[in-house]
Amino acid sequence: MSRVLEVDGLKKHFGGIAAVDGVSFHVEEGEILGLIGPNGCGKSTLFNCILGQLTPNSGEVKVDGRVVTGLRPCELNRLGVSRTFQLLQVFPKLSVRENLILAGQEHRGTMVSRLCGKPDAGLGEAAEEMLRFFRLGDLAGEAAGGLSYGQQKLLDAAMAFMGGPRLVLLDEPAGGVNLTMLADLKERLTAINREKRATFVVIEHNMEFVMSLCARVLVMAEGKVLAEGRPDEIRANPAVIEAYLGH
């Protein structure tokens, strides 16, 4: 097994505050790694540093052994690193189908083929498949902004997979999603992880969701890695319990 993502000594300061303070970890190919920790512990900042949305003060990020620190988010995405967002981030006025095509169009062809070629960038079939997979088929023609919160979350996840990513970073995929849809989402994510050999890192506050989805969990507190291990080990770890329950 190869390491898809390696993070080494990553640091990010905001003024005097070390939001991410020397974090190192790695993710194996095909793995689903959970990333948990109290609010404000630096999970999202860590994601943003890995994805090039923020520039880390020091440290290194490698994807498939290649150093990617300093690359722009769009370049990183075309290398196969995709993400979903904590808050809803779809294109509200475009239809659900257009959202999906948009999510994949920069991964194939050239600027010329994107201007002169087919309007759907040859992604019509792939978009239909993704719609079926996430059970959004009935909504294909609807404007994405008109979907329910849970449906938009599903669409956001579906968009992250349109480019056929190696690695997907999911930021609170279960946040605000109702129980029925949550089971659905977990089942879809597990299926896509198996079928497409995609590797995931999942930030989540819903413990039930993380513990059942992930094989390995990383706990962060105050910008540092507090613990790492299997879900049952994490559940029993006194330091983790203390970080969550406070003093």
Partner: protein, 328 residues
Amino acid sequence: MTRTGRLLGLAVGALVLAALIVVPMGFNRYGLYILSQWAVMSIAAMGLNLTLGYAGQVSLAQGAFVGIGAYTAAIMTTHGLPLIVALAVAIALCLAIGWLLGYPALRVQHHYLAFVTLAFSTLAFLVFRNEEWLTKGIYGISAIPRPVIFGFATSRPLPFYYVCLSSLALVSLAMWWLIRSPWGRAFMALRENPIRALSLGIDTRRYTLIAFALGSALGGVAGTLYAPLTQFVDPTPFTLSLSLDLLLMVIVGGAGFFFGPFLGAMIAVLLPEWLRITEGYYLMLYAVAVILLLIYSPTGILGILDRVLAARRTKAASARRQAAQATL
């Protein structure tokens, strides 16, 4: 869109085009001039609609690009070069300058960007007025010839109107293709959610510059037609107010709607003419009409249509849901 909807659209389009070809045959010189101006301004407004309406980048410089196109055409054709060569030069020039003007948009947005482009607009005006060796300054360039196309002289108003109309048709086709292409989709992504776009591999920097360059180039195309239309070019039409007029056309017609610029240009160019019968009041009536429209529908005329259609779709969708529940 449904099949009947598409057929209906095609039929209406064909009818409008036929009317635009046939009806003006009976127009006098002034009527044809106004209608030609509508076609020219529609092209410029389409360019701004691309930059502002689709890609979401505010620009108060579109009038300056019309000026650059007009001066390019005026200078080159009065030196004996054909208009088509001037057109190519104007497009290249406006693409390049538009691309450069896009750089500030990578740093600043919205009203800040409006001010940067406003500064450029003023700069362009100063060049038109002060660089007499090139533009003849406030005296302007007169006796601009109209082109001869495939042996046909278009110096009379009707043939030249057809030149403007067919240019508008060509630009519209190109724009229709562009908007439906992945480029068009990427432009809309810039407008709707640039951060998400970036995370999906869309090079927002590149697309922003392209949106500026292409939108500005259409300003240049409009200018290239404007010069032979008026046959006289001086700096006065290219003050900031032209940029504001074009902005008005895009907003009133409906920013981000394909047909918005046509309607907007119609209102900005034709409505004042129709209101002339009210004599001294026409500017006031025009202003009131525009204000009322924007209060009623901030998204412009096509915004009203869009709301009506959306309401109908919602109704149909909820009816479908009800029917689906009944079978469960």
